[in-house]
Amino acid sequence: MGLGLLASRAMRPLKYSNSRVFIRSIVSKPELQSPEASSAAAATALEPDLPPRSPVGGARVHFPNPEDAIEVFVDGYPLKIPKGFTVLQACEVAGVDIPRFCYHSRLSIAGNCRMCLVEVEKSPKPVASCAMPALPGMKIKTDTPLAKKAREGVMEFLLMNHPLDCPICDQGGECDLQDQSMAFGSDRGRFTEMKRSVVDKNLGPLVKTVMTRSSVPHNFWLNRCVRFATEVAGVQDLGMLGRGSGEEIGTYVEKLMTSELSGNVIDICPVGALTSKPFAFKARNWELKGTETIDVTDAVGSNIRIDSRGPEVMRILPRLNEDINEEWISDKTRFCYDGLKRQRLNDPMIRGVDGRFKAVNWRDALAVVAEVMLQAKPEEIVGIAGRLSDAESMMALKDFLNRMGSNNVWCEGTGAQPNADLRSGYIMNTSISGLEKADCFLLVGTQPRVEAAMVNARIRKTVRANNAKVGYIGPATDLNYDHQHLGTGPKTLLEIAEGRHPFFSAISNAKNPVIIVGAGLFERKDKDAIFSTVEAIAKKGNVIRPDWNGLNVLLLNAAQAAALDLGLVPESSNSIESAKFVYLMGADDVDLEKLPNDAFVVYQGHHGDHGVYRANVILPASAFSEKEGTYENTEGCTQQTLPAVPTVGDARDDWKIIRALSEVAGMRLPYDTIGGIRSRIRTVAPNLLHVDEREPATLGPSLKPEIKSEMDLTPFGSAVENFYMTDSITRASKTMAQCSAMLLKK
């Protein structure tokens, strides 16, 4: 960021070229008649010899109330900003990147690093721009000698006790402190004393601490991580201990960070005090190739960047997406990548008579599968897509099995008879960012903290910002915000639906109530009754209005939404019991207990996980980091993964395997390229082609036929037992195993 500023300075021409034309229209606004405004206008006219600037990082100004706009001047540029902006935000809009350490746009303002000092006319001292509200007519100067000298002085103080260990520091190369000391610091220091050193803390298997690097006296400036933990992650573990030169960040008592978002402190730490433990000393950031893709470990579809070196995924970082994950990702997303290197299937294999797998080539494997498949009766063929499957391969699987005469295709986790007809019945209608407008939440059978950590962070943000009420129905759980545990099962739900429960009045009095139903309930036999009860609550509580749809389903898996959009619905609910040929496309969590012993199971997937135990043939496929695939997240937003690394061994992309198998089996699918499949998808679910767009459901649940079935009164179960291990990638990850062992140990 600091270098960007330098670059912008360097690019600025020294002399004004007369090419820029000023077009001034004659305005007859009465406010320009007042002396102040006209002087401001005069100032505008006096400063024509400045090149245009564009806002930092494409910052946009949103005026909630046009009357509240005020005018300030940044380096002579007149600028309209809304009231309540800080000086730093005004400078960003004006295209000036102010150096900063403690300030972070998503955290509360601390104002203690003093790096953001700027000069304001008529102010005797430089002001800390991050904490200073912009006032009308303020004349801000960001590159005067005073501001420069102030920054240099602050930088010298900041570096006073900072160790000179950049060569062995993992932050090296992507360090704010490095960049800013290059850009704004002095080339020499005057500090000749001993530097301070601090004992490192153990914060668990994910975050490595080098506390000495955070030691800057008189400025407990780094407390970004403390603010993050308290404000965003909702765990009050970290604190500022001691004072003066003895001050440090820590937990005081020996304690691990028990947050599902703890990895984000690595990103927000502007120095190398908190770094990633699994990534420690593995690579330098300039050696890495970044691939912008999305995460598939939960149904949120967090935007990530996979940093790879050669064939190896080195780390995963979040990408900014205001609508989905802001700039955070969960620990599972961030640290699951070592699972991509373990337990991988790299050759097609056939189980011999002795029960052992033997590696064969693709030709033989596909020939065996096709032969067995052609012998099975069409109704005995079953295909199950896994929780990490992309839309293209699910489309190919469905098309292929339909050509074989079977319609028993579904995606795991959607239950026996999923409702795929009304899209509003399985996506998050409010949208993730829309949750911020809510003021009352009812969580039915869902624990967002483990099912979708980023949605949980959004709910927590809302609870903090506008004191939204949260009611929760389900097994006892630890949500990191204030909530009422209303009950454990359908009984409470019925009470609310009948208006007997006090929380019903909270819903009906709320302006924007939100009901979130967990996808774990899909597996229950009485799910239709539960959903109609929830819809009854929604109807009575005015949850669905033309301008507000507060009835949501929180899905569990990355594949679910796309699978239901594509219509992957089993024809009969007990197809597994009578199956003779089962095609598992990455499905690991299907209950195969009832499968007949003579059934032939093909497992196509990337990890030797649960699905492999029963498989007769293994077809190795590529993981999400190795293929291009379309995924739809729980709010109905379509996104695509991009290949970051090559496939492992002799693996192939999922859809290619099915396409090849179809040809070997004599039922050739009519597409040879991914574009071909996508045109096929266009005829089934066109929304899956609108990448990075959220397609809201058009029809509400009112069209649904009335369902008269009794609810089973057994309490709701928890859908995710272990946050860190939910799919084949995370189950293969060593880091995730350590997390489950250490952090879930009570």
Binding site: Q236, L241, G242, R243, S245, E248, G250, T251, Y252
Partner: protein, 293 residues
């Protein structure tokens, strides 16, 4: 902190030094001296002083246990989160009284008085379970209480003696010989700084300026021998190495001795041997000549 003050506010001394044109230089000199002193004492906790008297550092942990600036809790048999800790019944009344000073939605404001009360009840120091109890009462996360307790050096997080002797080590006292006083105390008691004597009666610590510079050097005796009811915090000023040992012995015998200056020739913070200036009736401030109007 409840402080029994027996002298005039000795800060009177400071403005006289720092007034006039030399303000900046004198103040910055004082500040920088203080910084150097602080820095050397905190950084060199284990290395410079303690290890010079005891060159072989016997065990790192035991040094850490007596290090008041260690921002980390180390479990020990008498200080771990599993030990139960409650306010006594009489103190529970006091807790209620303290909480009544604050609005019910700002209970956390009571953290310092409650920690002080807990410290008095627990013989002068705060075990981690006491801090947890305070956190529970004021309904905040324990770390927020730890932050406060580690910030203020008046909260002792390791065991202290029944009489906790605090030697002022700030510049004026240092110039007037506070190091000799501390050495004399340590030698007499046979302990290191922040260590408790075997009988559990005494411990010696260092503190920053208490504003008695006009009577430097001074020590403070925090008396925890009678719980929070009989808790006193007295200043003994104008002490000499000989006098502090006498004070220690008197405390050991349980004798009461008057706090304040220990120099018999001084009255409170007045000059030795009586006043030398301002002896006459002070002149009234000059008024304008009313007759001339």
């Amino acid at each position: 902190m409840r402080a029994v003050r027996s002298t005039h506010p000795a800060n009177l001394f400071l403005p006289r030094v720092v007034c006039g044109r030399g303000t900046k230089s004198v103040a910055s000199l004082l500040l920088s001296l203080e910084l150097v002193e602080n820095a050397s004492s905190s950084r060199g906790q284990a290395s410079s002083r303690d290890s010079s008297s005891n060159p072989s550092i016997s065990s790192g942990i035991s040094i850490f246990l007596h290090c008041p600036e260690l921002c980390k809790h180390l479990d020990s048999p008498d200080n771990n989160p599993d030990l139960p800790w409650k306010f006594s019944d009489t103190n529970k009344e006091k807790v209620k009284e303290i909480l009544s000073h604050y609005p019910s939605n700002y209970k956390q404001s009571a953290v310092i008085p409650l920690l002080d009360l807990a410290q008095q009840q627990h013989g002068g120091w705060l075990p981690v379970s006491a801090m947890n109890e305070v956190a529970k009462i004021i309904e905040v996360a324990p770390i927020r209480v730890y932050e406060v307790a580690t910030f203020y050096s008046m909260f002792n997080r390791s065991k202290v003696g029944k009489y906790h002797l605090l030697v002022c080590g700030t510049t004026p006292c240092m110039v007037r010989g506070s190091r000799e006083i501390e050495d004399a105390l340590l030698k007499h008691l046979g302990v290191k700084r922040n260590e408790v004597t075997k009988d559990g009666l005494f411990s010696v610590g260092e503190m920053e300026c208490m504003g008695c510079c006009v009577n430097a050097p001074m020590i403070t005796v925090a008396d925890y021998s009678n719980g929070s009811e009989g808790y006193t915090y007295n200043y003994y000023e104008d002490v000499t190495p000989k006098r502090v040992i006498e004070i220690v012995e008197m405390l050991r015998r349980g004798e009461k001795l008057p706090p304040g200056t220990q120099n018999p020739k001084r009255i409170k913070s007045g000059p030795e041997g009586g006043n030398t200036t301002l002896l006459s009736e002070p002149k009234p401030p000059p008024c304008r000549d009313l007759d001339a109007c």
